[in-house]
């Protein structure tokens, strides 16, 4: 036995060991070297791309899009039409509910797809901009026109998010979180559709007595649903765009301010009065929506994806009704905070020409109309008359009319989505508040602490 480890074999082992490490390390070095090279190379090529706008569109075009509640039928239509218009382009689609995870290695290795639709779990526009992965579209946007000749830059319902004044993504889907209820049930039993926080409370009181259920549900596994669906509108109504920006950016003192505390007191009241589903702590996305459809609960704050996503599970006689989340004080209009899902081009896109052609192609009023027909949601373009189409669901036409009536609804804007680094700890504390294990005062302290950590 002893002989095995002398001389040659030992040498062989050492050699293998060294080899393995050299291989491991060198591949890493190679990657980062390649990265810097393509970095410099690409900033050059994107400059030149901006210069020569009219070149023939050909080559391979890779499109990454998340498929969630809106389905993929609209994408299939647009991509097929684009293919017809530009037959020389070979289109590769990367799509699915987990596409953000699946494509992550491509982004890390600096070989991203050309066009990306940023939506769904595992994606973060803010993070992508911070990492310099998205192309600066500020100047290019000024040249794009819709089919009618209107400038695209002037035709957004909500302006693109800006990072230090620069635009890196174009908001494609206009989603907004609000509160859903079953219109049929409310009409049958005569429950009041809430118009402000006081009537929200009295309506839920009625439902508790009438139906014997806890009226309000949200997904406890994703506490940020409640943050985006209920609290953002509440902050908007109470303190306008300024407060909304301050809490999202975690500005010092924003979370402990009186306005925020007052709003959080409302949440504490909701918890204390037993309005929340007592089991919501463990509910995931689908379970919470299923609970709502099964009348285990009467209200759920989520986005416009709900009817389309749950289309196969809607009980007979169920009729979707949508109101902006009624967290505002009596006498004030509803508040909504649009939530945008943008389309962007990768900074290191291999085919920026085709990518730009595609983005330009997708932003038309015709496709906006067909988007509403396919998905039951709204594309972020003005001047689309949804009532002209019979295929657009009724709740959407109504909601759209309501949102566009400033008497009824005030629209507030957030500067950009909240970073996951701030949203996660705040969501956790919020969960505790909703379960009744924390007071509003304790919550704002926790949130302020999280904001302080985020700022560092």
């Amino acid at each position: 036995m002893k002989k095995l480890f002398n001389g040659k074999v030992m040498l062989l082992f050492i050699a293998m060991f060294m080899l393995a490490f050299v291989v491991a390390c060198s591949s890493d070095d190679g990657e980062s070297d390649g990265g810097t090279e393509t970095d410099s190379g690409d900033s050059g090529s994107s400059d030149s791309a901006e210069g020569s706008g009219d070149g023939e569109i050909s080559g391979e075009l890779e499109i990454q899009y998340f498929v969630g509640g809106y389905g993929d039928s609209w994408w299939k239509e647009v991509i097929a039409d684009f293919q017809e218009e530009y037959p020389d382009v070979t289109i590769t689609e990367h799509a699915g509910p987990n596409i953000n995870e699946e494509m992550r290695s491509r982004w890390v290795s600096n070989d991203p797809p050309d066009v990306v639709y940023i939506d769904g779990a595992g994606s973060s526009e803010t993070q992508m901009v911070e990492d310099g992965q998205l192309m600066n579209l500020t100047e290019w946007l000024q040249d794009i026109e819709l089919e009618s000749g209107d400038k695209l830059a002037d035709s957004f319902i909500v302006e693109p998010a800006t990072y230090d004044g620069e635009i890196y993504s174009l908001p494609l889907v206009f989603d907004t979180w609000g509160t859903w209820y079953d219109k049929a049930l409310f009409e049958e039993k005569g429950y009041e559709v809430p118009t402000d926080f006081d009537s929200f409370m009295s309506s839920m009181e009625e439902i508790k007595d009438g139906e014997g259920i806890e009226p309000l549900v949200t997904s406890g596994q994703h506490p940020y649903y409640f943050l985006r669906g209920m609290l953002y509108p509440a902050f908007g109504a109470a303190g306008g765009d300024e407060l909304l920006a301050d809490v999202i950016q975690g500005k010092e003192g924003a979370w402990t301010s009186d306005v925020v505390l007052e709003t959080m007191k409302k949440v504490e009241t909701l918890a204390a009065e037993g309005m929340f589903d007592s089991g919501l702590g463990a509910l995931n996305h689908t379970q919470s929506q299923m609970n709502f459809l099964l009348h285990d609960n009467a209200f759920i704050p989520v986005g416009f994806w709900l009817p389309n996503e749950m289309a196969n599970d809607i009980p007979e006689g169920f009729e979707f009704g949508f109101i902006p989340s009624p967290m505002q004080d009596a006498g004030e209009p509803y508040a909504i905070v649009p939530d945008l899902r943008p389309l962007a081009i990768a900074e290191n896109a291999e085919n920026p020409e085709a990518a730009k052609a595609f983005v330009e192609f997708a932003f038309t009023r015709d496709y906006a109309m067909s988007f509403s027909e396919h998905t039951g949601a709204i594309m972020n373009l003005t001047g689309v008359d949804l009532s002209q189409s019979d295929e657009v669901p009724a709740y959407l036409t109504e909601a759209n009319a309501m949102i566009n009536d400033p008497e009824q609804v005030q629209i507030y804007h957030k500067p950009h989505p909240m970073s996951a680094d701030l949203e996660t700890p705040i969501g956790n504390a919020l969960m505790s508040l909703m379960l009744g294990n924390m007071t509003a005062e304790e919550f704002v302290e926790e949130a302020e602490k999280a904001a302080a950590e985020y700022r560092n």
Binding site: L4, K8, V9, L12, F13, M16, F17, A20, F21, V23, A24, D28, E31, S32, G35, E101, R104, W107, V108, S109, N110, G122, S124, Q127, M128, E130, D131, G132, Q133, G220, Q221, P223, S278, G279, L280, G281, A282, L283, N284, N291, D296, A420, D421, T424, N428, A429, M431, S432, L435, N437
Partner: protein, 297 residues
């Protein structure tokens, strides 16, 4: 035929080198690159990363959630070791010593959870714990114990203890088989001798069975500890996602959240290093505590 030295070495190399290369690529390389990334501020979704030295480790020490995750992990380790070992041991003894006719049937029943994926087990138990239509709450209601019914996974107090039951249920089978193997190797004559000396079943268990299958018990405990520290992530991720309010986060699920949800991959790698160090220390301590002279009769 006498083998030449060269042939012998060739054969050895043939056996060892491929395995070693695989080991280096799939174990050593990730291990060291994890260590390497823990010194960087990196989002994990882009190429640019910044060397920040020990900053991630300083953050680790100051992170208020980390001590909770460690406590949760060791809570699961302790409850699982106790639960699984007691149950597996008694079932193994019962199935081997008590001459039950249906023993093969029970063996299959108890081993069944082991062939199921942990993800499936997690989803299954999520339904069992469902507050409105789950088996647990409706069972309690059926027995007239409504007051005990609660949203198990949705409660900050009860979520973590609720994870113990499925973990134990899923773990019993494998260790039951291991211990049965050990017991089967104990010669019948020891029991006969003990019986002649007037030892009852309990005394036989404590004085004969337990000392003789100690090696199997020791391996089982170590195995449970290691798999829990590394793998409790799955059941947490599937059943609660670490919530509500971090009350069920274990080190692994917190690592996942940091690395892939909050885009702090470097910090996630740091947590990974911590898990490695804690696992090593734990195993060393356990080895020390459980060392016993080999018993032979």
């Amino acid at each position: 035929m006498v083998q030449s030295k060269k042939q012998k070495y060739m054969f050895l190399a043939f056996c060892l080198v491929p395995t070693f290369i695989m080991f280096a690529i799939f174990t050593l390389y990730p291990l060291f690159s994890g260590l390497y990334y823990s010194f960087f501020d990196w989002s994990g979704s882009a190429q640019n990363k910044e060397f920040i030295g020990l900053d991630n480790y300083i953050k680790l020490i100051n992170d208020a959630i980390i001590p909770d995750t460690i406590i949760h992990d060791y809570f699961l380790v302790a409850t699982k070791v106790i639960g699984i070992m007691i149950m597996a041991l008694f079932i193994a003894v019962a199935l081997t010593q008590l001459k039950i006719k249906e023993a093969p049937f029970y063996r299959i029943v108890f081993f069944f959870p082991n062939i199921m994926s942990v993800v499936v087990i997690g989803i299954l138990w999520t339904f069992i714990y469902n507050p409105s239509m789950g088996l647990v709450n409706s069972g309690l209601e059926f027995l007239g114990l409504e007051s005990l019914a609660r949203p198990w996974l949705g409660s900050e107090t009860w979520a973590l203890p609720s994870l113990v039951l499925p973990s134990i249920w899923a773990g019993i089978g494998l260790f039951m088989l291991m211990l049965m193997g050990g017991i089967a190797n104990v010669s019948k004559s020891y029991y006969e001798a003990a019986e002649i000396d007037g030892a009852n079943e309990w005394q036989q268990f404590w004085k004969v069975t337990l000392p003789l299958i100690w090696p199997q018990i020791k391996i089982s405990i170590l195995y449970i500890v290691i798999t829990t520290l590394n793998g409790s992530f799955i059941i947490v991720q599937v059943m609660t996602g670490g919530g509500p309010n971090n009350s069920t986060h274990v080190m692994g699920s917190y690592l996942y959240q940091q690395a892939f949800v909050q885009f702090n991959f470097g910090y996630g790698a740091t947590i990974g290093v911590m898990i490695l160090v804690l696992s090593l220390i734990t195993v060393l301590i356990l080895q020390f505590l459980m060392r016993r002279d080999k018993v032979e009769y």
